[in-house]
Structure formats: C-alpha cells, structure tokens
Subunit: 433 residues, 3 copies
C-alpha cells in the first residue's frame, strides 16, 4: 500500500528524491567550481532558482571569497607504472582544493600527502584543504599498506584561479514577509547522505510550494558550507530581521532515528515545534542542545546574528561510521527514509505556518457552544477530542498563547486545535490576536 | 479508637456527612427545579444559607437562564402492558430536562431515545439534555436487550416552564476581605460521590466555621453545574477581586487516592498548598495540571476571570467506572473516606489561613535565641525540629517568603513553622511583612 | 607514584597538613581562651595572620562578647577515692564553659551533670554550655554505668572572667578588591575532622598564595563558631560588599565523599562552580540545598547579609557517627583525604579566579581561525577539544556569559576554555566584557 499524506504520494516522492540524488552523485562539487554550478543547474529544473556568482577576492565578514577550484583528473603511478589511485574512480580520492602537482617522489614523501582510515581499511575518507596551499590523496588504507618503496609519479590536474563562488537561492513569497529559512550545503562531492539528501529534500519542498498561497515566506538557500553561508549573510544583512524560523537540512536519507539540534536560543518556536512534531509521531528521536559545531547553523547562530535556526537530521554529523567516507554512497540512503524525512519536514512546516495566537471574544466563562452546534446535545458522557480542542483553544486564547503553546499544554494534535480555531473564528468567538 | 483532629471527632463527622448524603440522595436534582430547592433547604438546617432565585430568561454572560424543569413521573410500558422502566425506581432513568411525552411508538423509534452502557449492562447511565428540546430514558443495557418488537407506551410527566434558577451561598466573614471560595455543584440527581459527597464536605466546613474568628473570609457556593457558575459569576463580578484561593469540591466520598487538579495559573498558592498538604500526609495521590474540562473550575479559570481555583477530589471525573452511573450510590461512598477528605480539606484551609509572610527584625546574623529561652542551654547535639523551625523562619523572613514557601523549602511541618513564627512574634524578633 | 598538581606535590601537602593537625590536636580550644590564642600563634608560623582581641562585654549585633573561659584541670573521684574521669586524659571530658566547681555530691546529683552516648558506650561526646551558668562532664557511657552509689568529689578548676574573644584574619590582596572569603572555625577542642582539617586546608591555601599575583583578593578567617562570625560581621560591615564568593571549610579530612552545601541564594557563582568542579572530577559527591543549620554559613547567609557563601566538606555535620565525639581523632582523618580536598579546593578557586566574561570582536559568523593558525589546515575530520573550545568561547562571548557558563553549557573542561580565551585575546578576536 502506498503511503500518502493528503494529496501527496510519499512513496513516489521518495523515489523522485532518490532519483535526483542519483543524477547529482557523480558531480565533483567543492566550495567553488563547475561541480556546484552544474548541481544548481539541475536543481533549477525543479525550482525557479536565482544563481549568484560572487567574485574571488570579495571581502565577506571576516573572510575573503577564495580562488575558484576546478579539477580535470589526478592519479598516482607506482614504480612499476601501475596506477594506484585515480580521480576517475572517485572524486573523494583527491583532497578538495589540492593545488596542481606534476612530480615524481619517493614513497616516504608521498605518504605525507596520503589520508586513510586505518580502522576502516576499505573506505576512502573525505578531506579538504580549502585554506591551505597543499595537496593530497585520500585512499583505502588497505591500498596504501600495499605500496612498495620506490619513486611514484604524482599528477593533479587542477586549477586554482580567480573566478567566483556560486550561490543558489529561491524565495517563495507568502502573504507576510515573515520568513522560514531552509538551508542546505552544496559543497560535498560524491557523498550521498551528506548532503545530496538535504539538497533533495530542500528541492522537493521548494518545488511543492509552487502555486500555493502561504502566510509565511519561504527562503531556500543552496550554499557551499561555511564560506557560502558567510557570503550570503554578508550580502543579506537587511533580510535577516525577517527570519522567524530556520532549518539546516542535511543527513536526511539514512534510516537512522531523527535528531533535532536546537538553535542557540534553545527555546525558539522552531525548537519547540520540532520537539512537538517528533514527540507526536511517537518515533525514536533525539533532541540535542546547540553546539557551535556541525553545519551552517554555526554561522546563523553566531552571537552577532543569533537567528532561530536549528537543524533537523537523521543520523547527524560524526554520529555514523559512514560519515565523510566513500561508504556514504547511494546505497546508504533509501527512498523510504527520504519519504519519511519529507513527511516530518512537512509536519514541521505545517506547525510553523499555522502557529498563530488568537483572542477569545467571549472570555468570561465558557461561551454556550451548544446553541452554535459545536457541542453534543446530550450531556453526561465523556468529551471527545474535538470538544476538548474547542475548550482548550477558548481557554488559552488570551492573545499570548499560540496553537503550538496550546498543543504542548493540552497534548492534543496540532491539527485538531487548528480545526477548532477555524470553527471558533467562523462563529465569531475568536479573533486573531 | 476514634480518629481525632484536635477537638474534632473525625469518625463522628464522617457518619454525620454520610447521614446528610443519605437524606439528600432520593431528591431529583437538576440544574433547576424543586429538587435543588429542597436540597438547599436541608443544607440550610446546618448553614445560614442565602438562597437566590434568578428568573428564566435572565441573560448571564454568553448564556440565558433556562426554563425551569420539574418532573412528577415517567415510564415505558411494553406491548404486553408491563412497565419496563419507571422513574419511581430511579431518577436516573429519565434524561435530565426531558420534554413532556405521552405517546405510543414502535420499538425502533423508542430505541433512538434509550441510553445504556453496553460494557456495564446492569448499570443505568446518567444523561442530560439541558439545551436541546428532546427526551430520553437511561436504562440497564440488559433490560433493553430483552425488549421485544411491538408498540410501547411512553409517558414523561415533566414540565418545562418559566421559573427560576436556584443558587445557594454562604459567606463567613473573616477579619479581612480576602476570600477563599468553596464551590460544589448541586445539579446531579441520585449520584452519591458526584456530588452529594462534595455537598456534604462543603456543608460541614461551612457549619464548622460558625463562631470562629478567621483572618480570611470563606464563601461557599452551592450551584448547579455550568449555568449556576455562569450565573453566579455574571452577578458577582465585583466580588471576584477578593478571591485569593478557590476549591471545587466534588467526588470526595470514595476510597480512591486523592487527586488535586491545579488552577489554570498552575502555581497559585492553593496549587502549592494542596501539593504540600498531600505530600506531607505521605499518602498516594496525584497532582494534575489544569484542563478546561471537569467541573466548574472551567468557568472560574476561563481566561476572562483566570481565578486561582483548583479542584481537590479523590477519584476525579471519568476516572472511575461508577462515574455518572447508578453504581455511584450510597454504598460507593464511605464515612471513613468522607472523614479523611474532611481532614485533608481542613489541613489545606489551615495552610491558606495561616500562610503569611513575616519580616525578621534582627536579620543580621542569628539573634541570640538562648537568652530568650528559645534554645537549649547545652550545645553540641543534633538540632530538634522546633529549633530548626525557629532558624528557618528567621532565615527566610525577609518579607518575601510566606510560611508555605518556608515549609516547601525546609521540608518541615507547616504547624511547626507556624508555632515558630508565633514564638518569634512574641519575642519581638518578627513582624508581619 | 606521587600525586602532583602542576608544581605541587599533593602527597607532601597532605602529610604537611596532617602534621599541623597533629600539632594543634592537644590544645584545649573553646570560643575564647588560651587554647584559641595558642592555635592562632601556630598558624601564624605559616600565614601572616592578623590577630584581633575583642573585649568581654562588647556588643556585637544581637549578642555580647562573653567572658573568657580557661581551664587548668578537672576530675571526679568516686567514694573509694579513685579518679573516674580526668580532664588530663581528654579535654572533651569537660563541658565547654563549665563554671568552676569544688564539691562533694551523691551520685544521683552528679548524674544530672554527666553526658554520654548510650548507643556508642566507648566514645566521649562533645558538649558545650557557652551561654548557661552550668557545668558538666562528658564520659564514656560504659564508665558511667559502672559508677557505684556514694559521694563523689567533683573539681573543675576553670575560670570565667573578663578577657577577650580572639579572631584570626589574613587578607591576600589581588589586583581587584573583589574578594573570596575562606572561613574556618577554631573553637573545637580535640576533634580532628571538625575542624582541625578545615584549619589545615585554610592555612595551606593561605600560605600558598604568598607571592602570587591574583585577580581576586582572598580573605581567610579563623574564628570561633557563631560568636566569632557574629563578632567579625559586626566589625566588618564595610567589607561585606566586596565579597563575591565565600566558602566555609570544615570536615575535609575524612575519606567520605565530597558534599557541597549551597548558599542561601542557591545559584551563586560559587554554588555553580562547586557543582561543576565536583561533577567534572567524576567522583561520588552530593550537592545539598542551603539550610540555616550546620556551620557559620548560617551567619553569612542570614537575611540581613545574604552573602554568596557555601560550604564544601566531605562528610558534613551530623552525617558521620564520629561527629562531635572522641572518635573524631587523628586516626579518623588521613593525609590522602586532606590532599584530595586541597586539590578540589584549588580547582574551585581556579574557576572563581578565572571566571570572566568576554566579548567576541568578530561576532557575525565565525572568524576565519585558519589564517590565524588556530584551525587545522586539513578539514573533514572530527573536531578536537581545543577546536571546540575556541568555537564555544567565540559563540557564547556576547558579554553575558562567563567561562563557567560556557563550561556548564559545553561540557568542556574549564582549563580548555581558559586556554581558548587566552588564544582569542592574543589574536584580537576577544575583549574583556
């Protein structure tokens, strides 16, 4: 049986998202370069994306936009001429931002440029050197162990030249300028969960908004990690005051339990809404306090901005062995996990979209619901959820409590409270606060 | 051995309260009518009750005082002429506020007016239809199952006419106008725990105050559920500012563990005092958060009033199978349970009455208690409770902390702290805050 | 292997402190008299102590400085002339402040002046009668049981005469006048844990500060219990505003788990620092709420002063059977326990000394640590503690959070955060708040 969510076929959505990931997987992304541009071009088939190019050398906050990095190929040949590592096999083999190299060297010297995972000898690690003039290869530990003494031929056919940093952005305008920020990072090469999964969910959420009328505006950012967020923040300080809620989307394709990491504030609406939504689903999940580590919530939550941005993942960074290795591949993520993540994101955005406060217009005693057809005519029996929802909304609507507040206090489903608020508005018993 | 509380024989009090319940049990109460009037007349033998009659049609907040309902009898005869249900056997048999009926009808039509409890086939449910023009019978499920096809003769000899709503009220004036509100509902017919037990406790508490000097004023309300509270609130808005603490008394005669339901505020003094008193007794009990369901705390705690009114029951509404059925009878409630409930209510009122803040007049360092005879002359041994009570009251009496605050923080019995405050007042070391 | 703490040999320090206790143990201390004077004279060999003599009759807060008590000897001889109790065997044998006695009396009369511990028949209790004109002997219960009828010769060769109360004080001046108060009581006779252990730790801490530059000033008080603290407070009200943190040091020589008793405020920095330090050590410990009982925290935390003074002990008052008995002797305390207590006190004082708030000078986004050499050049791997410490200090340094706040929130060691703050200050990324 297909899993549905109203008009949405979740199974089909899961397959679509996995399809997009499969299409994007081979591209060699980094914080700049053709791989990012090509990635954004493919996302733009689904979303009306604005692409910004920010030139090398542009000062952004405490940083400077770096030179653009591109790579055509890279390999190492052993003394017998056999190719022992080749970029063509996996773009993880080359340390990101490796400088061009064409040299012959002894194994001992080469070793200083090799990165492996001794405890996972068959996996290739993911390493970068964005801000250092260096180069390196990431290899299976088993392969490095087998290398013999002698001279090796090393080639990295890369360029590091003035160019630009590429940012993708999409704004769905709501009836208000209050914004939800949805951020995903686009800088990782062939790693599936981190973060093609986040790109896939963000793309799906953005495309689904097309043609829908919403109260909130939704801003989607497809940015390289750290420098991308820094650059976007530097260029958009005037926008920041509109951001009411924000989410960093990543690691949402693996079948692990959900993990929500709170914003620096710790009690932002998005923090409470995420805890409520995960709690109501009754699935295993974890709520973590903010730490200034992880993904770009670090930048949004720096003390000079302190935006209400949390991060909803499944297994988060460093919490699964495949993280930042070649084992984070297309087999590690599943359409089912993507579909469930989408469902949770939609639940969460539903709460944010409809979390309003109301004012009871008949606040002294209960209004007589019976004569308005909102109460059963026979009394004495146990109250149903809808009756309780009406009473809770009336009781708490003093202008200070939003529907999420009432949901938390009452333990009732958010949707029932939203229905009750709608009924009471219609009968003139409630007004927006 | 009889259970005593100072000068009070609790066992005898329990028997007296059960006696009053036995006297009131047969009367057919509803939200209006002779049954309520007769009930208040019998309470008035113990308490100097003021009775208010509010005419049908009077607007009260969002409601209107309904027509008065009275009933002389009701029955259903089966096709063979046998009486299958008779109001004379139990006033629960007729749905409260049933319109007059005199008709013959097929079983199928009759069935739409029959209410039963399939899972409790020998019990009669309690149902009402105050605000709908309808009628019905409540029956044992087993009896309805045995009905055979054919025409039934249905008679409900009731009247629904302009009249009045009857409210009972008693105010014990204290030395201050700060008030404790004690509310019980008087609208339920032959149901013992809900709420003849509450009526009995409230009557006992009110009668016991006669001739006693108290600091607080105590207002007792004997009102029909919902419409009674709505009506009283509508007519007494000028009084509400004096209400410092309030309690809805009901379901206090069964032997279940005590349950305290907090006011909407959640941290009112009465909420903390109830938790403290139940905690100190060391008996099984539950403290529940406010919900806008249950009894008339819903009205007092509506957002336009938001009074500090909680509810102290034993098994609360919907929490015991006998609730709102014929099994909530005089055998379900016991004199022992009533006596214990009285004892807890007296503990709680004691705390409220004496919960004052003081100011230490020698606040720098400890005053020398020894030279005032308040400290043992030999030192080095462990301190006793009275010594600790003196030290706690001195330490915390900065004008902000009441004796309840100190009791909560110290874990000492409230009575010891009250004793200590008395001693320190006498020795000029303390003053009212 | 010797336990070290930086340049400090903890084992040697433990032995030194036990040596000082052994030296002070035989002296007969009380709240006044030669025993206290002699004790302070020996402490003054290690610490540049100021000694204050406050004359008998001086009014101090609600009290008056009492007459000075001294004792040369005391004994009881039984009808056969045998000495059954002798002050020369233990200064605990005489109730502190016993009036002079030279009398013959029957056993029955004598018994009213004898104190024993029936449940510990071989231990002598510790009792005092500072504020009553009485006398008494403290004896092994077993010995009292063996007394035979007849007349007893009782001699207490004591004096109660005008003299003075003796206070010891040492102030280590820091670069600021913000003070840490370290208090220990000096009035107990031959009792080791209570409180020669506190005297030994305080003496060690004070002597170790010699020649060190500190931010905070450290005030050490060596005072008789209650009347000493009352007298010091009465004479030093102008100093109290400088006290930022305070600790009552006692019962720190037994091997029991650490116990921290919070100040009356409950959330003073010293309360949080003590909980943090004990928590980080990963040893069994207890954190207790303030009670106005115990030691002189009672006086500092009286409502007229309400100073942030807690008490860090091992087994606290009344919590071990040896408390206030002859079993609290030099064998009950160990050099190892003293050394560990010293280590904990030094940890705690380190936190207080360095607990400052800073302001991130690059608060928008993360500053680029890499180009300042504060970040590894190769990315993608797990962050180390030092990297996290830098990020935490940057993220939380908005001027409101101190390093202790950050330590509590991050779970990182205080020392790492202090290191990180130092690095960031040096690179101009941080300023004092």
């Amino acid at each position: 049986m297909t899993k549905r969510r109203g008009d949405l076929d979740l199974d089909a959505a899961g397959r679509q998202m996995h399809g997009l990931m499969t299409e994007l997987y081979p591209l060699c992304r980094s914080i700049t370069g053709q791989g990012v541009r090509e990635t954004l071009a493919r996302i733009a088939k689904h979303v009306d994306l604005q692409v910004h190019e920010v030139p090398t050398g542009t000062p952004v906050l405490d940083w400077t936009v770096p030179r653009e990095w591109n790579i055509r190929g890279a390999s190492v040949r052993d003394p017998s001429g056999r190719t022992v590592v080749d970029f063509a096999d996996s773009n993880l083999h080359v340390v990101g931002y490796s400088t061009p190299v064409r040299a012959s060297m002894a194994l001992a010297e080469l070793r200083e440029h090799l990165f492996t995972l001794p405890e996972r000898p068959d996996w290739i690690p993911y390493r970068t050197a964005y801000w250092a003039e260096t180069w390196g290869f990431c290899m299976r530990h088993r392969d490095v162990e087998a290398l013999e003494d002698g001279d090796y031929e090393v080639v990295i056919d890369s360029t590091l030249e003035d160019g630009s940093l590429t940012l993708g952005e999409y704004l769905h305008a709501g009836t208000t300028t209050d914004e939800v920020l949805i951020h995903c990072h686009t800088c990782h090469p062939s790693l599936a969960n981190d973060n093609l999964s986040g790109i896939a969910i963000a793309t799906y959420l953005a495309s689904r908004l097309r043609g829908r009328e919403t109260r909130l505006s939704y801003r989607f950012l497809f940015l390289p990690g750290t420098i991308g967020a820094i650059t976007w923040l530097a260029r958009n300080e005037d926008v920041l005051g509109r951001i009411r809620h924000g989410l960093v989307v990543c690691c949402v394709g693996d079948p692990g339990p959900f993990t929500y990491k709170r914003s620096r504030r710790g009690d932002a609406t998005v923090d409470r809404a995420a805890a409520y939504v995960l709690g109501r689903r009754g699935v295993e999940h974890r709520i973590l306090d903010f730490t200034p580590w992880g993904y770009d919530e670090r930048q949004y939550c720096s003390p000079g901005f302190d935006l209400p941005v949390g991060s909803l993942t499944r297994s988060p960074n460093n919490a699964y062995p495949e993280y930042h290795t070649s084992a984070d591949d297309l087999g590690f993520v599943t359409p089912e996990a993507l579909a469930e993540s989408l469902d949770v994101y939609l639940d969460l955005l539903d709460v944010l979209e409809h979390d309003l406060a109301y004012r009871n217009l008949s606040p002294k005693g209960e209004p007589q619901l019976g004569r308005r057809g909102l109460y059963p005519s026979i009394g004495g029996d146990r109250a149903g959820d809808r009756q309780l929802a009406l009473l809770w909304v009336l009781n708490q609507s003093d202008g200070d409590h939003t529907l999420l507040d009432i949901a938390e206090r009452s333990g009732l489903p958010f949707d029932e409270l939203r229905w009750a608020a709608g009924q009471l508005l219609e009968h003139g018993l409630l007004a927006p606060a």
